[in-house]
Symmetry: C2
Subunit: 420 residues, 2 copies
Amino acid sequence: KKKLGQDDSRRIIHSLKFGLALTLVSLIYYFEPLYKGFGNSAIWAILTVIMVFEFSVGATLGRGLNRGLATLVAWALGFGAHYLASLAGEKGEPILLGLSIFLVAGVVTFVQFFPQLKARYDYSLLIFMLTFCLVSISGYREDEILEMAHQRVSTILIGSSTSVFICLFVFPVWAGDDLHNLVASSLEKLGSFLEGFGVEYFKIPGDSKESNNTFMDDYKSVLNSKQSEECLANFARWEPCHGQFRFRHPWKQYLRIGSLTRQCAYRIEPLNGYSTLRSSGINCLQILAEFRSKIQEASTNMSLESGKALKELASAIKAMTPPSSVTPHIVKSKDAANDLISLLRSGFCKEIDLLEVIPAVTKIAESINELASLAHFRSVEPMVEAEKPKLLHQETNPPCCGVNEPHHVITIDQLSPKLP
Amino acid sequence: KKKLGQDDSRRIIHSLKFGLALTLVSLIYYFEPLYKGFGNSAIWAILTVIMVFEFSVGATLGRGLNRGLATLVAWALGFGAHYLASLAGEKGEPILLGLSIFLVAGVVTFVQFFPQLKARYDYSLLIFMLTFCLVSISGYREDEILEMAHQRVSTILIGSSTSVFICLFVFPVWAGDDLHNLVASSLEKLGSFLEGFGVEYFKIPGDSKESNNTFMDDYKSVLNSKQSEECLANFARWEPCHGQFRFRHPWKQYLRIGSLTRQCAYRIEPLNGYSTLRSSGINCLQILAEFRSKIQEASTNMSLESGKALKELASAIKAMTPPSSVTPHIVKSKDAANDLISLLRSGFCKEIDLLEVIPAVTKIAESINELASLAHFRSVEPMVEAEKPKLLHQETNPPCCGVNEPHHVITIDQLSPKLP
């Protein structure tokens, strides 16, 4: 329990904030004049805080707005159903009410099966259904339905605004910041892996120095980051301008970068298999020991430079500057890759796996350039930056005489897999 | 909207079931004697149905039990807090109550940050907090707290039992069945990919026949199956004996198989990159066209046989029989792999990626044998089945003279990556 708290003091603060919001709202009960005004409806303020208060500002705002809208729509519809049913006379009323509840519950439940609607409006739909049932049924038993509506709406407003206020002004946690950092740290983890991989892979087996390669497993968390990224992006949409982020910051571009980063991680996963083999004393390269020294320099360079490129991209995102210094690393790693390809023409071709990583890195770089121009990162000429990758392709093609020997030479650009 | 319904008629049935449960519970309002007994607490029956009713039996049972337990514990604690606070006199009572709410809310919120507790008891913790607040605070205002408790508990019981009854007896949907099918279909998708891969990869570029390789992308869903598998396994734990499944069916073993299947999918992902290259007219093998005919047969066999092995494993799971007919395929694919390795000794080594798939398949087979013995699949001698993979290793080693030429030959068993 203690360790978790050290990991993230934000969690303790969040717990305290939630306790504070709930205690504030429960004050309604202790002050006679307030309680007289609201009566039993005071419970709805507590219910609202429990359902609306979330970890990040975006989630709380989204829930608060959804809750408000859903409640209003449900009240309107519920009143309508109640009014129509009351026209049907004493015997018809329960039947009509029952039918309307059956209909609304069925439709709302079915709508929740659409993944997109579920992700965004899950909570609204729940509240809508709950409120509709309460309004249409309560109307059957309680005569002062308008009085009740007034009490309910005020308590729900009190609950929502308390939650939003505390979440927004007491040590706010921004989902946007979290998404921004998550995407950057994913890139950094892959970068660290690639930087270390070359050295690990070519280490002499008998070497007794135990390398501290725990960071080599960090990248594994990237493989399953999809859901948390989508969740954060959904929340971030609701957040107002804060820090370096505008209201309509291009959060979708982060999802695109995240997805490309996962593609890159999938390509790295088999590489990790080799390095595990290495540490258990079996080296695939032992088959062709004579090639080892030939390709060592090129492979290590390629891995190191693409790792550096990824790390540059990560720090460009963190600092919110266009990733201008990344192109030299990509050029260098492509050069190393082309060197390697010519070395391998007659030889052992294990490193093609590593070659696959570079197109993935290039795609990520292009995507981050796009983000830089969408989000107006501080840059001198954003349009020029965004076009650089294309120039790069033209620059690196000539050294490999791809046109003259189409069947014997492949360039690294041709290797680029069509990422979906 | 229509298409989704055709995809899964279970969803429409679920919507109707939910509507039915809600309508049944709302009957409390229409019958005078029932309403007199419960009064305003009747709303809690509706609230309970909305919160407890879920798609699968396991989820509903789990929620119902959690809801019941959490409510009881919260009532006990709430009474305690109310009693202690009332000892403190009129002025001390609100302060003590406020403190206790602050404390409970803070601790419960913090506990939710533990991922394991969150996955299992998220809902219980919410209900606990809600009920605790209601009881301790309501006690401050209402004198007949025991009468209210009686009403509440009965309505919650009515809501829970209605939900569980309808979910269990009207077209039940079992989370266990879904998990079982999901794991089997993941294996099948990978198998289809591998079966088709060899042919796709060695197809002559100019071939005008458009292959219907849409199934080649099916495996992509396996990459992100982690969360849904864990979710289903959590629900399946609650389900009673049904169909071929006992109450304590080894659901955790499914998670292990699922995780190994994902490992295999990560290894297949780069292969897909090549086949995309292929369809865009670029063939890595063009570098060394002369090797093509040499390795074609071995590679295609290897891919085909490991695909068949995976499909055998999938149908063994589906039929709940021990996967006895899978070993020949693994033997054949290992033989093909060893052939390929000797062919490649002096040549082009692109296919090592494909070689990596086989150890992953072997691991999956071992894991499914374990499931077969844990879950008592109908088998003649389950212990013998479970040991077969080890025998297999010994049988395939001799042909490759691994001892005499340690630096020039690797066997497929040595390639086996240490899967985490």
